[in-house]
Subunit: 374 residues, 2 copies
């Protein structure tokens, strides 16, 4: 089958690029002296995860219990569930933990720690936990400057019901950067905050086996990760328009695009209507801090070359509207012609599809099915 | 099962409200003298569609061929596929058309008309088409003031291969309104544009059987639809935070919410972290033109009462961050406690779930499964 034969909208995974992205990040982690525990939430497929762990120890990171169960069933034995655990999910998590080598959970609050301890105690089986640390992203994680954060780590390490894995962070602020130099500064901040907090804990007698960091921009551009033991980037498998805009990759690295076709043509407003809308691309606003007019993705021709001057100006459920900076060529972009869109956020766009068409050049070479739900 | 027993995030459909919304819109259409051809893209379930068509003729509107096939298999016999047809989808559409009473397609360009004619001619079976008209939304549809739009309608009506159903529009501009009076003005514009265009076509000898309009705000608030024959609202089955903000419903009408639990607690920034992120709520920005600080939804307590002063300030893939206007009560919102979020756009949020928990009060009375994909 050829790409041109696919129904639209279709999720395309460029296998050459995915393999290259996986190999590069694996090499980056080796060069920086950290083990790679790739996040698999961007693609949610066994096939891409197997490419990501090549040359490393095989551990992965997931964002839902459904992913944890799917990847465990697919042979992955060391999994970090990198969202603070909800007490209501503990029973399922504990059952899964008994079937793999290690399922590590995240805790960022004393009440969650108590719930994990109670669950482990009931089952007479230790549960592995990381203390999540906020290194400046301002989402989840404890403030490493507070005494109560040290107390929580001490409690986790001392609990007979827990296996304390160490500390973990995600430098979400990297996505607010405008260029590579700013990302490098965030990478240094992420490392420094974590290494300093680990040292403080160790000075207080708390053993810190793992110092785990994780974001695609910070690992891709880090210069020195001394003191860090593992990294958990994920988006790099696919990359996307945001990563290209902030300087974490180039557009030629992006392995995930959405194939669409022209269903409306309005030369008087220099616009095309495509059959990919919010349910194919997501309404992620993308890197507006770098390019306020970025729209909902980057427009490519059917072969994957960028179409300069085109923007995705609006999305409704199943319609997308593209606008050109210049008048449309009279015979250009006829009804039915194919285009490709690089989404702003590949994690969110990929999650909208039940299957990906895996391509090499113009050939469809495989079909992969991501896990869904929670 | 109780709502409190559900895993999170969970999509909740309030059956009492859905039934009330369906009955009200059916009555509104009767009062206005139009037949109701409800859009089913908001929920994509047979069960909700059956409630929507009660008391009307049974026709429905869909936004994908996958929906058309699913609802046809579920017994619906008269279906309008209300997105301009891509030529690559014609073969599947023609096959489906042969299995139902009528599958109507949308055309807004002469090249698409030619493709539909060619497909019908090859199969020696007429295909039903609407001419889509732009009544001011600026998305898809022909400009009714242009001569070539009249020519296209004339061609569709004259083709031996086509069954010309009439003209169809969607007043998407209603969503840019700030209040009910503005929506009423859009409803009048939608009607006037369509009735005038129908009259112009009929004066030129083009029979216009159907004058089809369609948006939840304009039908909910229309005062007079003289000359219109059918309406295709859809969102009203669930409604959402945007519809409430623009005055098309109240928050108490919204039948779709997302159940989440607190997984992080940060009183120092007056924030909670919940286990519902962009993959549970969508990143639709909502009614920022009415309330620039609306965030990504309206925060309710577990029982469905609005929590004043709370906003969903950010969403990442599986995390949501809620912020309060006032300091958190010291014992309030503990880790694990349940909340509900009214999404900005229920069509996009519902499409993220593989199943809905159907509730009456605190009881889960059913589970519905929406159709997916294209």
């Amino acid at each position: 089958m050829q790409v041109a034969d696919l129904g639209t909208p279709a999720a395309l995974v460029d296998l050459d690029r995915l393999e290259r992205n996986a190999a590069r990040m694996a090499e980056t982690a080796r060069r920086l002296g950290v083990r790679l525990r790739p996040h698999v939430k961007t693609h949610k497929t066994l096939e891409a995860a197997r490419l990501q762990v090549r040359g490393h120890f095989g551990g992965i990171t997931v964002s839902t219990l459904a992913e944890a169960e799917f990847f465990a069933a697919g042979g992955f034995r060391d999994i970090t569930y990198a969202v603070p655990i909800a007490p209501s999910k503990l029973r399922a998590a504990a059952e899964l933990a008994a079937r793999v080598d290690r399922l590590s959970l995240l805790v960022e609050h004393a009440d969650a720690a108590a719930a994990v301890e109670a669950c482990a105690s009931e089952r007479s089986r230790r549960l592995a936990v990381f203390l999540e640390v906020d290194c400046g992203g301002g989402r989840s994680g404890v403030d490493p400057t507070r005494e109560e954060s040290v107390a929580l780590a001490t409690r986790l390490a001392a609990s007979p019901h827990l296996e304390f894995c160490g500390i973990l962070t995600h430098a979400g602020q990297a996505y607010r950067c405008r260029d590579a130099s700013k990302i490098r500064a965030v990478a240094a901040q992420e490392r420094d905050v974590m290494v300093a907090f680990a040292a403080r804990l160790q000075a207080g007698g708390v053993p810190v086996e793992e110092v785990s960091i994780g974001s695609t921009p910070t690992l891709a551009l880090a210069e020195d990760l001394g003191g860090v033991t593992e990294a958990r980037p994920g988006n790099y498998a696919f990359f996307d328009a945001t990563q290209a805009a902030i300087g974490a990759c180039t557009l030629e690295d992006v392995a995930f695009t959405v194939l669409v076709r022209v269903i409306g043509r309005h030369p008087e407003r220099r616009e095309l209507v495509i059959d990919g809308g919010a349910l194919a691309l997501s309404k992620d606003l993308g890197p507006t801090h770098v390019d306020p007019g970025c729209g909902f993705g980057v427009v490519l021709d059917a072969g994957g070359a960028r179409l300069a001057g085109w923007r995705v100006v609006s999305l409704s459920q199943e319609h997308g509207v593209l606008r050109a900076a210049a008048p449309l060529p009279p015979a250009g972009f006829p009804i039915g012609s194919a285009l490709r869109i690089v989404p702003n956020h590949s994690c969110l766009a990929a999650a909208l599809f039940e299957r990906y068409a895996v391509i090499r050049g113009g050939d469809v070479v495989d079909e992969w099915r991501p896990v869904k739900g929670w």
